[in-house]
């Protein structure tokens, strides 16, 4: 199936080349886009993910109300069924929670915090993990042994347990959960980067760079790192999905974010109390939002892995 589509794109490219020499040049970026969009589901997931990120960034401008501005929230509106009209005349499409907040708005704001914490911790962990992994691969020997032993030991404990231990000791807060998520994740990045850096280290361009007497930093970050990026990006997407899910779980357990920073996990947790009396929507919809976010990130990550994996390419 892949072969036919690919040969078709080749023909397209050839045709384009004759018509307009500039339009159909097979740049790596264009090839990446066309390979990626081979998979319809992954393309949809990428669009959904884009929409989610858009909502998260612009939540204050597009949500119907600011759910944490007491002047805009009325307790009289609390626990309304999805679709009810408010006293002011507009509709609560997904209902309201126990304090009378519009659930759509609360979810938009929640997405902002969930994604923010997840992506932020992912980026920090990626920087730390990649540096450590590169160092292990580049210097080898004892450094490598020591680092990888630490990584192995940490990865032998489940992520949720490590995060729980850290948060039990540190307490609640955005900064603390970010620290916990970074500590949980860095080892995955370190292992991934070391794996691909070990392969790169023995290639000729590194030898050439070494012969030019370039500094360690330059060789590692300017020559090795760019060649280790594809697996890093894949692990990055999957890990970010994990981090978002883990943050939601920890917040639900009451050890993650404080009540003043309501992520999706906290919204679900708040709804738990009402659920037993049949008010399902307060927990249900934030959960669906969380699920869509995680699934779309995972699908994008899966497709990235297929596209960026050189072994699967022609």
């Amino acid at each position: 199936m892949n072969d036919t589509t690919k040969s078709k794109t080749r023909v397209d490219v050839a045709e384009n080349l004759t018509k307009n020499p500039d339009a159909g040049v097979d740049t790596p970026f264009r090839r990446f886009i066309s390979d990626y969009s081979d998979n319809k589901i992954a393309t949809v997931a990428a669009v959904v993910l884009g929409a989610i990120i858009f909502i998260a960034i612009f939540a204050p401008f597009i949500s119907p109300q600011n759910p944490y501005d007491l002047a805009q929230v009325s307790i009289l509106d609390s626990k309304l069924v999805p679709g009810t009209k408010s006293l002011d005349g507009w509709t609560f499409w997904l209902g309201t929670d126990g304090a009378g907040r519009d659930l759509v708005s609360a979810m938009f704001y929640g997405l902002r915090i969930s994604l923010g914490v997840g992506i932020m911790s992912g980026i920090i962990a990626m920087c730390i993990g990649a540096s450590v992994g590169l160092a292990a691969a580049y210097f080898g020997g004892r450094t490598d042994n020591l680092i990888m032993r630490i990584v192995d030991i940490q990865l032998s404990f489940p992520a949720i347990l490590v995060a729980l231990i850290l948060l039990a000791l540190l307490g609640k807060g955005v900064d603390k959960i970010t620290i916990a998520l970074v500590i949980v994740q860095w080892a995955y990045y370190a292992r991934t980067v070391r794996g691909s850096a070990l392969v790169e280290r023995n290639k000729e361009y590194i030898e050439a760079a070494t012969c030019l007497a370039l500094g360690h930093n330059r060789i590692v970050f300017r020559h090795m790192l760019p060649n280790c990026l594809p697996p890093l990006i894949v692990v990055g997407t999957i890990q970010t999905a994990h981090a978002i899910s883990l943050e939601a779980t920890l917040s639900f357990l009451g050890v993650g974010l404080p009540v003043s920073e309501p992520s999706l996990g906290l919204l679900i947790s708040n709804g738990f109390d009402y659920m037993l009396s049949g008010m399902y929507w307060i927990s249900f919809f934030p959960g669906v939002a969380l699920l869509i976010t995680i699934v779309s990130i995972n699908l994008v990550g899966d497709q990235l892995r297929d596209v960026l994996n050189p072994r699967l390419q022609r």
Partner: protein
């Protein structure tokens, strides 16, 4: 072999010591234990008396040695909330957690292996594709939310199964278990399924990958050529060969089940260790938190040790490599 086990054992002991040190310093440096022990109106003399009584005026290494010494005697302090030895409280709750984790493990095998082998043998069927899509969902669904939805559907809306607690328990060798009574079993099912969901997806994927690999091996072709029935080929030749990775990974994942039971226990109010630690963090019950952390580290170090040793027995390459290194 002996060399490998000894090396591995030393590493485990080292990990336990490092973790005990981290927990100790976390509790004593990040938080202020004196604040927890004295009441608000205590004067300076009272505070000093408490500091002296708790040995907090000594240098940190003496404090740490005392902590380790006490821990080795099983003394991790009295719970502020329950007023009992914190270690005892945790040990009491342990069977509930292990029962839940084992039940989930069983469900993962019962559902995971047949579905995985089926999708591996017939990947082109629509049913297989649905199962695989379901397994992606199983990986992505946050456990706690699925638990909530289970409660909503099966307990609140349909009213089929209870949603909280362990139900009626029976003592077996002094340990209370739920799975032997009908009531207990109905209480066990939802939490166990909730906990198992992730592992079911994992087993489906492993079994499928294993099946697809093994199906093309020469010994399967040979068994077929010999004229053996499909049933025998699948259940004897194929199963035997896919089971090794599945069993190893499941063994590794048992620790994960115990860790994740924290979530399931909180959702279903299952009175195990996980619910205890969450309650204790909420109540700032430090002795119980410390005792839980130490015990869970110990449990994991033991699980990892067993898995590694078993692995080295199953796959000799592992131990040869380690001895050389």
């Amino acid at each position: 072999m002996t060399v490998f086990i000894i090396r591995r054992l030393m590493q485990s002991i080292l990990v336990v010591f490092i973790m005990s040190f981290l927990v100790f310093s976390g509790v004593n440096l990040v938080g202020d234990p004196v604040e927890m022990m004295v009441h608000d109106e205590a004067d300076q003399a009272e505070r000093e008396r408490v500091i002296k009584a708790m040995g907090l005026d000594k240098p940190w290494y003496i404090q740490y040695a005392r902590f380790v010494g006490n821990a080795a005697h099983g003394d991790l302090g009295k719970s502020f909330v329950y007023g009992e030895e914190s270690l005892g409280i945790i040990v009491q709750r342990m069977p509930a957690t292990f029962e839940l984790a084992l039940a989930a493990l069983l469900l993962a095998i019962i559902f995971g292996i047949p579905l995985g082998v089926f999708t591996g043998l017939k990947p082109e069927l629509r049913a297989s594709k649905v199962i695989m899509a379901g397994s992606i969902l199983g990986f992505s669904l946050p456990t706690f939310w699925v638990g909530l939805m289970f409660i909503m559907v099966f307990a609140v809306m349909l009213g089929w199964l209870p949603s909280t607690g362990r139900g009626e328990t029976i003592g077996v060798f002094g340990i209370d278990v739920s799975f032997l009574t009908k009531d207990g079993l109905s209480h066990l099912f939802l939490p166990a399924l909730n906990l198992a969901l992730f592992k079911i997806s994992l087993v489906i994927r492993l079994a499928r990958a294993g099946t697809r690999e093994v199906v093309h091996q020469d010994y399967i072709k040979f068994a077929r050529a010999k004229g053996l029935s499909t049933k025998r080929v699948i259940f004897v030749h194929l199963m035997k060969n896919i089971l090794i990775p599945v069993v190893t990974v499941l063994g590794l994942e048992f620790g994960g089940l115990i860790a994740f039971s924290v979530v399931t226990e909180t959702v279903f109010a299952w009175p195990g260790m996980g619910k205890l630690i969450i309650d204790s963090i909420q109540n700032l019950d430090r002795p119980v938190i410390v005792a839980y952390l130490m015990i869970i580290v110990l449990v994991f170090v033991i699980i990892n040790l067993i898995v590694d040793v078993l692995y080295s027995i199953l796959d000799p390459r592992v131990r040869l490599q380690d001895v050389r290194a």
